[in-house]
């Protein structure tokens, strides 16, 4: 295969990954890694490096709109970034010593968990009163809805913080945004409204991924000729996905992709367990 053909295949694959990642809410990074490593025979380390770079691009690109609309809570994001960046650096360091098949198996498990989680029904809740610690840290705010600005508070700051460290470690270790865990930390534990949780989680991914990406860069995980088509493809795919989501909420498509992703994850676990990755 020529370099040109390989680049175009990478681009097309990354576009699909970005599209599926955006439609399912899983993020492009988590879809691109099995695609590169299972189908295209790219070493998992290079796949992780390219995925991490594309996480930074999609996070920053889509966060821009939400920040301007005032949905993202920048204080909550900044405070929890202490946890995710520490986790990310630890995760990146673990990645350099963890055996490859272990990373492949763990990745498959996280992927299945995230796919299942993306199908869960989301309850809408707004907490009125913040806990004392949340109040001292100014972890509250308001966000625009169809019925005007809604005020919200938060609680269980310590629990959310610990969960964010875990999310950061997985992000650094596996090269993913770990959006599912970030949303669990904010939505389920800290009781932040779902819309604020998802946009703030997305906002935090850029900084979290950068904290581990600079470690990866210095260890040689980031190959420019693989990253270039992957990052551009994932971002364009994610933009297409966002456009589709504005017009419709494709529930059946979501279930279909969750099944596809689960199969991909099982393949990855199998490859890891039989030592093929």
């Amino acid at each position: 295969m020529t370099v040109l053909a390989f680049t175009l295949i990478l681009f097309a694959g990354a576009y699909c990954a970005g599209l599926i990642g955006s439609l399912t809410g899983l993020g492009g990074g988590v879809v691109i890694i099995p695609l590169l490593s299972v189908f295209l025979g790219v070493d998992i380390q290079y796949a992780i490096g390219a995925a991490l770079v594309s996480v930074i691009a999609t996070s920053s690109g889509s966060a821009a709109a939400y920040v301007r609309e005032g949905i993202t809570n920048m204080r909550i994001g900044m405070f929890l970034e202490i946890a995710t960046t520490v986790g990310a650096v630890v995760g990146a360091l673990l990645a350099t010593i963890a055996p490859t098949h272990f990373i492949a198996i763990l990745f498959g498990c996280i992927l299945i968990f995230s796919a299942m989680n993306s199908l869960r029904k989301k309850a809408v809740h707004v907490l009125k009163e913040s806990s004392p610690l949340a109040q001292r840290l100014k972890l509250y705010g308001s966000y625009p809805t169809a019925n005007g600005e809604v005020e919200y508070g938060t609680k269980n700051v310590a629990g959310g913080f610990v969960m964010m460290i875990v999310a950061g470690i997985l992000s650094g270790l596996l090269g993913i945004g770990s959006g599912a865990l970030k949303v669990i930390a904010m939505d389920n534990i800290m009781r932040i409204p779902f819309k604020v949780s998802t946009t703030t989680s997305n906002f935090m991914m850029g900084v979290t991924a950068t904290a581990s990406a600079v470690v990866y860069l210095q260890r040689g995980y980031i190959q420019p000729d693989i990253c270039m088509p992957v990052v551009i493809g994932v971002l364009l795919g994610a933009l297409t996905g966002a456009r589709i989501l504005i017009r419709s909420s494709p529930e059946k498509l979501k279930i279909f992709f969750a099944i596809v992703i689960t199969l991909l994850a099982l393949q990855m676990i199998y490859n890891g367990a039989t030592g093929r990755i």
Binding site: V3, T7, A211
Partner: protein
């Protein structure tokens, strides 16, 4: 008053993120075109991953030397590195915003995040 500043900050940061991403990708794309026009028809070889031990100053030096030599890979790498710089710039802008709002608590929190990234840039403790 504080609320107005928050809104300004949101606007600036939103634009910063958008411009950062598109500039980085444009540079990476140009690099890709240069790279493919000279290497596109070569046979692809899947290199096995080899762990390396570079340091940021060395990588930067290599990138800038490559750019002055007109190498496609160097432009692609510059695009990637600008992409890394985008969220870091966002944190720095937030820091300035919190300083202007005299929000001491969040100035400290933001400085902690910057410090962690700084440690990571410096070889990630390893």
């Amino acid at each position: 008053m504080a609320n107005i500043k928050d809104k300004d900050l949101q606007y600036i940061i939103g634009n910063l993120l958008r411009w950062g991403v598109w500039t980085s990708l444009a540079i990476a794309f140009i690099g890709g075109v240069i790279y493919l026009s000279s290497h596109g028809l070569e046979t692809v070889h899947h290199p096995k991953f080899v762990e390396q031990d570079h340091h940021m100053p060395g990588i930067l030096q290599e990138v800038f030397q490559g750019i002055s030599a007109g190498k496609g890979t160097a432009f692609m790498m510059l695009g990637v590195m600008l992409l890394f710089a985008t969220p870091i710039m966002r944190v720095i802008f937030s820091l300035i915003g919190f300083i202007l709002e005299k929000d001491r608590l969040y100035v400290v929190i933001t400085l902690i995040v910057l410090m962690i990234i700084f440690v990571s840039v410096h070889g990630g403790l390893g």
